[in-house]
Symmetry: C2
């Protein structure tokens, strides 16, 4: 049903959807600079930072027998979709939302080669009464625990403040912190070993995950039946958006058990496939095979009237996580992932050359101008 196409002919970009990185980025740069200056404090305790982890998805400290990695990550605005859908269907979606939140932290932490050990919950509600909806609260607890079970992490505790005046009434700000170990130290993957000839293995996403939701929510205004518009027969846009993010740590742990150490990893979140350019070195990443695009992402692309270039620069387009492995490990990496129930494919190779991502099947090239942020 495309009744709105002619009424809303314009492309809807991520910036139009309300996130202005021009305002945030100067603060980020100032914060990164100040943070970098504090790494030397670790010497007072006999430790040191892994400098290459600055700018990576998780921060790594060398404490002698192993490395410690830590992170805090935010869910973002996906809970707003759950709230809207609850109004429409009467169901609670917070079990999946809990998994999304943990996935944001876990999937970043594992990029550096860490085994996640402890997750802390940060659930800041707009008022005490948020917690009074027992069904929703219990779903959040149950989903949080199940995600910890899947990832074999301990849920250490957390914080459940009621923040009236800061968090909006009826809403909740969800985040997770995670601490893990890189053990043995050879598992460290901060990119220093990445080399031409390495293979790029992409792990399938389950949908939009938790990035691009501002765009997805904005798009609802264009849809004839809003969140209840069908993406495919029997599956509403809202339900499709709320598919929980894949937890990738079972794959990275299984890879270790199989003797495969990725040489670099990229969690494909904000900035979509441009995240494949995250590594600081100068390489050309040549993609020869793209994964099937999840229906909800194809639906967003079509209704937002984005061309492939814009879609792949914003959304994960079916690939939630990238593993850069030695060429000889590529096929087995796919097998190990699939044994964990995560579809995967050998998508391309790392080549010497200018820093760029070439998605050959789509005729798209992203260069360094396309990813200023690490």
């Amino acid at each position: 049903m495309n009744a709105n196409d002619t009424r809303h002919p314009a492309t809807l970009s991520y910036e139009q959807a309300g996130v202005n990185y021009d305002l945030i980025d100067p603060l980020k740069v100032a914060a990164q600079r100040a943070a970098a200056a504090t790494g030397a404090h670790l010497a007072a305790h006999g430790f040191s930072e892994v400098a290459a982890s600055r700018g990576e998805s998780a921060y790594v400290v060398d404490v002698g027998p192993f490395y410690i990695a830590s992170i805090v990550e935010c869910l973002g605005s996906k809970a707003l979709v759950a709230d809207e859908m609850s109004q429409l269907t009467g169901k609670s979606y917070y079990d999946g939302i809990a998994q999304d939140t943990i996935a944001m932290a876990i999937n970043d932490l594992i990029t550096v080669g860490a085994t996640p050990l402890v997750v802390q919950a940060y659930w800041a509600a707009g008022g005490s009464d948020w917690f009074g909806d027992a069904q929703r609260a219990q779903a959040l607890v149950a989903g949080w625990k199940r995600a910890c079970d899947v990832c074999n992490v301990a849920w250490g505790g957390g914080e459940t403040p009621a923040l009236a005046g800061i968090v909006e009434a009826g809403r909740i700000d969800l985040a997770a912190s995670c601490t893990g170990l890189i053990n043995p130290k050879e598992r460290l993957s901060v990119g220093d070993q990445l080399a031409p000839g390495d293979a790029i293995v992409l792990l399938a996403s389950s949908g939009i995950h938790a990035n691009g939701l501002s765009l997805a929510r904005k798009l609802v205004e264009r849809l004839p039946q809003g969140y209840l518009t069908e993406v495919q027969p029997g599956l509403t846009y809202g339900d499709a958006l709320l598919a929980p993010t894949v937890l990738y740590s079972p794959v990275t742990e299984a890879l270790y058990q199989a003797g495969i150490t990725p040489r670099y990893c990229a969690n494909i979140t904000g900035h979509g496939w441009r995240k494949l350019l995250r590594h600081p070195g100068a390489f050309t990443y040549r993609i020869h095979s793209v994964p099937e695009v999840t229906p909800v992402l194809r639906f967003i692309q079509q209704h937002a009237r984005q061309d492939d270039r814009e879609a792949y620069s914003t959304l994960n387009m079916g690939a939630g996580f990238a593993l850069f492995v030695k060429a000889e490990d590529a096929a087995r990496t796919v097998q190990v992932a699939q044994a964990q129930g995560v579809a995967a494919l050998v998508a391309g190779t790392v080549e010497a050359g200018a820093k760029q991502l070439v998605i050959e099947p789509l005729g798209i090239t992203f260069g360094t101008d396309d990813l200023q942020l690490r």
Copy 2:
């Protein structure tokens, strides 16, 4: 200036100020139960949790050569006071607010004997434009860095999402996660060694710290000049409230250097002095000396018309942190703290007997009914 006394004769309690623990507590209990069931996952990695840390302020995992402690903590509503005061004075208070946020995490983490190593920043704004106020943003960055410098921790990174629709426009939800080591393992203090005869040393607070702010903000409605009402000549209520929370890790680190290992610690936050009853064992805590009450806390008590019992059960009343040490270490503990610039006093003793806190100089007794939450 007490012009409002006759118009507002009623006591203002913490519950009246808007936080309804009856709604939050069932969720907390369910979460704690689910979390406890996940501790066994650590065995898959060859590790184990320190079970006694469940219910303590930080979660502790035994990873062999040492323990790892981790935590996430929220600032709470103190930033709202900074926002109000900025409107009134044109100043930015976010350097102090940054310290408050880090103190929430650090001061909890050290209770278990941990040396804080890495702090992560969680700054969730109501929109990108929050970060557009360069003065405020830079103050937040500078204050965050300075607090890291004071505590000798590395600022690992963090998250700066713009969460329109979840966080209120113009506001920011601030939190910090912290990871540390208990090293050597003998520094672990989860209370198993606490014994009758131990001394209670109280470390001075700088003011309200970041707990009781809902009450403090509610009280403003009763004050003739609001936040600009003077607490003492030349010091407004708003400025007094915004005194940054003391960072106590320099004291606990100096104690270790001095050969003193606390047998238990309590960070005095929400629930005020009832936190002295936090230890799970059955002891009587007899206080023979109370510290001087910070002027802003005395002011709140008077204007909220709280008796001592209510005030000490809500606010820190001049004591921000409690160290339970062997009697022979008590005097030196005070000296070590004062050498770090933190006033301290030997305030009482741990005795065999019913679980209660007896504040003798004030004729107050708190029993187990007064602290359901750990």
